[in-house]
């Protein structure tokens, strides 16, 4: 009995000694700890207001509980379907068009023999990734302007009718997808290019000896060689289908194209910050976070199952 307590005491002393030995590390970590506490975990605690009728005068604690009222309000509104549909479709478009495009770019770049040309092409195609979303959105709006935009000048020159692209709900997804294609195609190709350079050169030689031409080599060796990278990236993307780039979408959004351009992020911003419905908007945001989190977990499970790579 006495011995046991003694041992426990010794253990505790040893633990404190180890902690004391690392005191500077804790000191070093302290600001980071504060950051996470205030700016990451405190907002998570703030999620309680989704279940309360938040009133700025009463504050977090004294605002009355309302249970799932705001969740029900959202689930019974027309917005649920509209927002989920827009978010999913924007991601689907991206996966269908932009994802293959960057693979194709990587394949093309990989075939370039001239080192200088390759480097120049890479530098130029990576460039748009560094241009800010405000600049890009500004260019899009300017180019598509019905009266003065270059696209409409072109359409008019061909004898077509000038289009009000930014106010047509039907055009929004295409505009956004093409904009993202321009911005990301080069940058996203980097990872595929890296995967391609990891393929064993002997495989190409073997294929050449068997008489395989260029396209054949691409199809039978390069593509299967990067297949695992592609699968992992698709799965990872799956974990993010609930977040569309709402900060950029907000820049292109107007009342006329809301039908297709409204995603959860922009809706939360409009109702919560512009409209002051803090509790309702928090509930909507929380809906997104929870679905998003489950998607990440599912994606990770799939990834571990099928490709032996996982986040944790």
């Amino acid at each position: 009995m006495h011995k046991k307590r003694n041992a426990r005491l010794k253990g505790r002393v040893r633990l404190w000694r180890r902690i004391w030995a690392a005191k500077y590390l804790y000191l070093m970590f302290f600001p980071v700890f504060l950051y996470y506490a205030f700016f990451r975990y405190a907002p998570m605690g703030g999620l309680v207001i989704a279940f309360k009728d938040f009133n700025a005068f009463l504050g977090f604690d004294r605002s009355p509980w309302v249970g799932f009222k705001f969740f029900n309000q959202f689930f019974n509104s027309i917005y649920l379907w509209r927002l989920v549909r827009n978010t999913l479709l924007i991601n689907l478009y991206d996966l269908l068009f932009n994802f293959p495009a960057s693979i194709i770019l990587a394949l093309l770049l990989n075939e370039v023999q001239n080192k200088r040309f390759k480097k120049a092409a890479q530098t130029i195609t990576y460039l748009p990734y560094f241009i800010s979303s405000v600049v890009i959105a500004s260019m899009v709006v300017q180019f598509l302007s019905p009266s003065s935009g270059i696209i409409n000048h072109f359409i008019a020159a061909l004898g077509g009718e000038r289009q009000y692209f930014m106010t047509q709900p039907d055009s929004f997804r295409s505009i956004y997808t093409i904009m993202n294609l321009w911005k990301n195609i080069g940058w996203n190709s980097i990872i595929f290019l890296a995967a391609i350079s990891g393929i064993n050169g002997e495989l190409y030689e073997a294929c050449m000896i068997d008489g395989g031409g260029h396209l054949r080599r691409m199809w039978h060796i390069t593509l299967p060689g990067i297949a695992s990278t592609i699968v992992v990236l698709i799965i990872m993307r799956l974990g993010h289908v609930m977040d569309a780039g709402y900060e950029t979408i907000l820049l292109l959004q107007n009342n006329a194209n809301l039908e297709t351009s409204d995603v959860i992020g922009t809706y939360v911003y409009r109702r919560g910050l512009r409209g002051g419905e803090y509790s309702y908007a928090t509930a909507v945001g929380m809906f997104q976070s929870v679905i998003g989190f489950s998607m990440v977990i599912m994606a990770n499970y799939l990834s571990r199952r099928y490709s032996e790579t996982s986040l944790w």
Binding site: R18, M28, T123, F130, I131, L215, G265
Partner: protein
């Protein structure tokens, strides 16, 4: 022997189809590069062109009836220089804060002698996948009385968990014997980090710093959320007001109205020029950064 026989003949056989292939490949890439550059070229050309030429669609690659009046107007916009200064400040100070916190956090979490580092790493990583969201974060920042201060821009994004974990992975590869040797020489943990480890990690530090800096320069949304005083606005917000919200045009005199399009294009150029100038020199760091990330995965 067989390979020696096969190779030359093979080279000859492939060469015609290969030539065709290479030509097509080059043409495709050239077209793509043109598509990447053209918007930038057009915007620049339009910013120097006369308003009527822009409106009629005469501008293609070169400025038409070139002048710099649009730039004169833009440079006289009172908030422009202010916002330029703000963006420089947010980028410089913000990146410094980012780097200090990221390095300290990553080093602490990489050291075995720190008890509880696993649970702390887990708690940090968790925030990559789940967060409080826009409104609760806004309310916390409001509670902390940070609204309409520069800290609302700098602090909420002070650590990127992804970058910290990346840096930690890098630090884990540093041989423990080096650390122990330094400790025997009387260095404490700060000494080890700043005198021994950081000089060895300059390349990664540079890469991560670049990621932070570009993010600061390009960011606009935290300013939309947390700032309402025009004198604190960063450059991107001014650009948004001028081009996307038509602010100059709406409350401008007739002479400015005549140049509305030119002013917009000039503002776009002013906003993107610094990045275009810096980009070619820093590009390789970013590519390296992507590679580090992909190796980790």
């Amino acid at each position: 022997m067989t390979a020696g026989v096969l190779k030359p003949s093979n080279r000859i056989r492939v060469s015609t189809s290969r030539k065709v292939f290479l030509v097509i490949n080059t043409v495709l890439l050239l077209l793509l590069c043109a598509a990447m550059l053209y918007p930038v070229i057009f915007v620049t050309a339009a910013s120097f062109s006369e308003e009527t030429a822009i409106l009629k669609g005469e501008v293609t690659i070169f400025p038409v009836r070139a002048h710099i009046k649009a730039y004169e107007k833009v440079f006289h916009y009172p908030l422009l220089w202010r916002s330029y200064g703000n963006t420089l400040l947010y980028t410089g100070l913000g990146t410094l804060i980012n780097l200090v916190l990221t390095v300290c956090g990553a080093w602490a979490l990489s050291q075995k002698k720190m008890v509880g580092r696993r649970i702390l790493t887990l708690l940090c990583t968790f925030t990559m996948f789940f967060n409080g969201g826009m409104i609760p974060t806004f309310l916390v920042i409001k509670e902390l009385k940070l609204l309409n201060t520069i800290w609302a821009i700098l602090l909420p994004g002070a650590v990127s968990t992804y970058n910290m974990i990346l840096m930690r992975t890098f630090f884990l590869a540093i041989p423990q014997s080096l650390v122990e040797a330094a400790e025997l020489d009387g260095c404490n943990d700060f000494g080890v980090l700043f005198r021994i480890v950081l000089p060895l990690s300059l390349a990664s530090l540079m890469t991560i710093g670049m990621f932070y800096a570009v993010a600061h320069w390009n960011s606009y949304f935290s300013a939309v959320l947390y700032l309402s005083k025009p004198e604190l606005y960063p450059l991107q917000i001014i650009l948004r007001q001028v081009v996307l919200m038509n602010e100059i045009v709406e409350n401008a005199s007739s002479t400015e109205n005549v140049m509305a399009e030119g002013i917009k294009y000039a503002t776009i150029v002013v906003a993107m020029l610094p990045m275009l100038c810096v980009y070619p020199f820093v590009q390789r760091y970013f590519v390296k950064g992507v590679m580090i990330g992909s190796v980790k995965e």
